[in-house]
């Protein structure tokens, strides 16, 4: 049947050359073998749901977290992740969207491509739906890896996104998937009843999944995948506000900005200190911040794509790690303003408030690393106008702060706050942008660590 579907799809296109047809047929042969080694079509079709208990590490050497997944057909799933800092994060998908829930972090909405891929991958009957999910399939030349012959298949999904599967010629198992955003490796295949499953999965983001137990069921309680209407409404509203913010910023125009050089005057009002700060940003993630404080000397912070670093006349050179590095990478990300949804998957509406510029709605944003703070969006413009959060001031150091943004001006189609005011227990700091230049040529060398004083 999978061969038939493949031929029909290919034929319906009417524009597939003969060699492409051959490649498609060969691909489907490889995929058919994969279905067989998984347990066969008949056995797979019987699966209504899978319950997996997994030891999950987000990075090699990181603490192992307990991850329990209950997955059924139609893109419905329930994932429960126990995290040390914020206890349990539950993600429930009703097939149309995913909702992440945590008592501290709030509710997160999974949607878009990341949700569609998760829903596709979690469907236990996915191996039987390849032709539907990947209308275009091509066999690529085999490769030899560590002495083993690997069959290679390129699949293109309904959105036109390609991924490449690497199938061990001997066992027929899928050992690797290369996707635009990540590569996934599978190993330690074991027989569980009628089925074969990978007990070890890693990805190029550093995550390691070690399967502890798995069971298959032919029936499932649909209540497991139910999401309350209130929760859906709250998550949708928060997502709507964030989407509006992207439009208000000028998201499309921002995508065209490949580099930026800004100079701002920094005025620490309560200490009577004023200085200029120059920030150079370049996609994908390069940044250099430099400023000279009168009486204190020159300070630099930068990221060259590999190393986050700081250098000053007072404290010398050091590499930035942990939260300090994360904060710097946010500065390095020219598109961070438009990727709040991605960076902060958890959201909880925090009410409305009258701010100096008008009425605003607050959303508490967070990620698995913890709460990011409360972000306030202006009702009239949709712009982000206030952040109540914490500044990372060093390893294990943070200071709570309120950051207010005003004086929005358009630069090359992107709306920027030309004045920001930071208020925290130690300083009241106003930053006023003096100049902004987009898409200027930047020498990569400037981002490199300055280890010499």
């Amino acid at each position: 049947m999978w061969i038939l579907i493949g031929l029909v799809v290919a034929g319906a296109g009417g524009c597939v050359t003969r060699p492409e047809k051959v490649k498609a047929r060969e691909a489907d042969e490889v995929l058919a073998r994969w279905v067989e080694v998984l347990g066969g079509e008949k056995a797979i079709r019987k699966i209504a749901g899978v319950r997996s208990e997994v030891g999950l590490r987000f990075a090699p050497g990181a603490p192992e977290l307990v991850f329990v997944a209950k997955e059924t057909t139609g893109g419905r799933f329930r994932w429960e992740l126990s995290t040390p800092a914020y206890w349990k994060v539950t993600t429930v998908s009703d097939g149309r969207a995913g909702y992440m829930m945590n008592d501290v972090l709030g509710v997160g909405l999974m949607e878009g491509r990341s949700f569609r891929v998760a829903a596709r991958d979690s469907d236990p009957q996915m191996p039987l739906k390849l032709a539907e999910l990947f209308p275009v399939r091509r066999r690529l030349p085999d490769v030899v890896e560590n002495g083993a012959r690997i069959r290679v298949v390129e699949l293109t999904d309904t959105e036109g996104v390609k991924e490449t599967w690497f199938m061990d010629a001997e066992s027929g198992q899928r050992v690797r998937m290369e996707r635009p955003e990540v590569t996934i490796r599978c190993s330690d295949f074991r027989k569980v009843g009628d089925y074969t499953v990978a007990y070890a999965v890693t990805n190029t983001h550093g995550a390691e999944f070690n399967l502890k137990a798995v069971s298959f069921t032919e029936r499932w309680d649909d209540g497991e995948f139910a999401v309350s209407p209130e929760m859906k409404a709250g998550a949708q509203k928060a997502a709507g506000i964030l989407k509006r913010h992207v439009e208000a910023v000028g998201g499309e125009a921002l995508e065209r900005v490949r580099s930026r050089v800004s100079v701002a005057e920094v005025d620490i009002e309560n200490l009577g200190i004023k200085f200029d700060m120059k920030i150079t940003q370049q996609r994908p993630n390069r940044v250099l911040m430099e400023h000279t404080v009168p009486g204190m000397g020159t300070m630099y912070q930068g990221y060259d794509g590999t190393t986050g670093w700081a250098s000053s006349e007072l404290q010398g050179y050091r590499e930035l790690k942990g939260q300090e590095l994360t904060q710097l990478l946010t500065m390095a990300d020219l598109g961070a303003d438009t990727r709040l949804q991605e960076i902060c998957p958890f959201r909880e509406l925090a009410g409305e408030r009258e701010l100096p510029g008008g009425r605003a709605t607050g959303i508490k944003l967070g990620s698995l690393a913890g709460p990011n703070g409360t972000y306030w969006f202006d009702h009239a413009t949709g712009r982000l106008v206030r952040v109540e959060s914490a500044i990372i001031t060093g390893p294990k150091s943070h200071v709570t702060m309120t950051l207010d943004m005003s004086d929005f001006r358009e630069v090359d189609g992107v709306w920027m706050a030309f004045t920001t005011r930071v208020d925290n227990p130690t300083m009241k700091m106003v930053t006023r942008i003096k100049s902004v230049e987009n898409n200027v040529a930047v020498d990569e060398a400037i981002f490199r660590p300055r280890t010499e004083d």
């Binding site: 200490l271 009577g272 007072l314 404290q315 050091r318 943070h398 200071v399 227990p425 130690t426 300083m427």
Partner: protein, 437 residues
């Protein structure tokens, strides 16, 4: 952010009070408004920034009412300053002060007007003693000699002030710290001024000399926002015996380059003495920067806890850092950042501390310009060692307590330095040139 010491500005604050009292009668028609705005700003700044929301049990709201009534009777800036200083004193913490504008130096012109007698002072046995007299200085011309005891300054007896400080229940180290400031503050007044000082020589004879203020020679730090400029001095030398000696009068970024160059020139197998006696502190980040040249490992010097948030003073090892034995010398004149550095190195096991208990005046602070032109110094945070020990009101206890007596000073002998040298010598002979960790 600047995090500053107590000592220097307690000192300057005191100087301003003494020199300016009664001389600055404000006759501007807006005086009442300026007075009220200044009072409100001082009270509310402390109210918002004080690191302990309970104010250590002090009724800060009640204090506002009490002092508001007193402020309404302040007819001039000097009186207002006195009331505000008294209000801040209710907190019973260091680093809360009103620094008179006249006592703060911001411009090159003001540097030329700020004087010195050319004498340095220390406390020994609860007395203020002349410890160093610059050649060709006003102090030398007046016949001051090492070991001379100061009995009175401007007609006020040192012993009487010492009793007043003792009555407040402060530690001996803190008393000595204040006492030294009481003597030195009037002696750093405007160039051309003079102060009568009663001196008791090593022979027991008492004499009165008129000490003139002359222009400060040497380098000054650059002002940093509201933080004034001040004279900086450094002594950094490496003897042929491989013993390095580093002494500087304050933690100022202006000295950092020289310190860095000096520390980089130390060799494997050398020893190092850091003499923080009489150093009232300065920019706290400089302490962690300096220690980066003394360790191959990352460690923390201390922790600053604000009302919300905290900040570690982390030491980031620098390439080719000196890892040989380090001795730190302290006395009651070592305050604030000096104490952070001494306690941090001591707790990390990176240095052995010699001398006398430090001032116990260690709170990170900032300066705010007031409508009167004066400066408010206010503590932003509590400060503890990495192990959680409080320095404020306690100080650093040396690993090897060694006193330097008035007789030692007169004879120009330094048993504290000698003890440190002996320890370093022992360590080097034992081949432990890789530090004490």
């Amino acid at each position: 952010m600047k995090l500053l010491n107590a000592g220097r500005f307690l000192l300057r604050g005191a100087a301003g009070v003494f020199l300016a009292a009664g001389a600055l009668r404000a006759e501007e028609p807006e005086w009442k408004a300026v007075r009220e705005t200044t009072f409100d700003l001082v009270w509310s700044t402390v109210n918002e920034a004080y690191y302990d929301p309970t104010f250590g049990g002090v009724d800060w709201a009640g204090i506002k009412k009490t002092y508001q009534a007193r402020v309404e009777e302040a007819d001039d800036k000097a009186e207002l300053r006195g009331v505000l200083q008294a209000m801040l004193g209710e907190l019973r913490k260091t680093h809360f002060a009103i620094v008179p504008r006249e006592a703060a130096v911001f411009t090159p012109e003001e540097r030329k007007q700020t004087g010195t007698t050319g004498a340095k002072f220390v406390t020994a046995g609860g007395e203020v003693v002349v410890a160093d007299v610059a050649a060709d200085s006003a102090a030398a011309a007046a016949g001051l000699r090492n070991g001379d005891k100061i009995r009175s300054v401007g007609g006020r007896e040192v012993a009487e002030v010492a009793r007043l400080y003792a009555d407040t229940g402060v530690t001996e180290a803190r008393r000595d710290f204040y006492l030294k400031s009481f003597v030195t503050a009037p002696l750093s007044g405007p160039v051309g001024g003079s102060v009568a000082v009663e001196v008791e020589g090593a022979d027991g004879k008492v004499r009165t000399v008129e000490l003139k203020s002359e222009m400060q020679q040497g380098a000054w730090s650059e002002p940093m926002g509201n933080l004034p400029s001040y004279p900086v001095a450094i002594e950094a030398r490496r003897g042929e015996d491989g013993l390095g000696y580093l002494k500087f009068n304050t933690f100022s970024p202006a000295l950092m380059k020289e310190i860095r160059v000096f520390l980089r020139e130390l060799r494997t197998g050398d020893g190092l003495v850091i003499d923080l006696r009489g150093n009232p502190g300065g920019l706290i980040l400089m302490a962690s920067g300096l220690c980066g040249w003394l360790s191959a490992e990352e460690f923390s010097l201390g922790r600053m806890r604000m009302r919300s948030g905290l900040m570690n003073f982390d030491v980031f090892p620098q390439a080719k850092a000196f890892t040989g034995p380090v001795a730190v010398l302290i006395d009651s004149g070592s305050a604030s950042t000096s104490e952070v550095l001494a306690a941090g190195l001591q707790e990390a096991g990176r240095a052995r501390v010699f001398g006398e208990t430090s001032a116990g005046a260690a709170l990170p602070s900032a300066f705010l310009k007031l409508p009167t032109g004066d400066l408010l110094q206010y503590a932003l945070a509590d400060l503890t060692t990495p192990g959680g020990a409080t320095l404020e009101g306690v100080g650093v206890t040396p690993d090897e307590p060694v006193k330097r007596s008035r007789e030692d000073i007169a004879a120009e002998s330094d048993p504290v330095l000698e003890a440190a040298k002996k320890w370093i010598g022992d360590r080097r002979r034992a081949g432990e040139g890789e530090g004490t960790k």
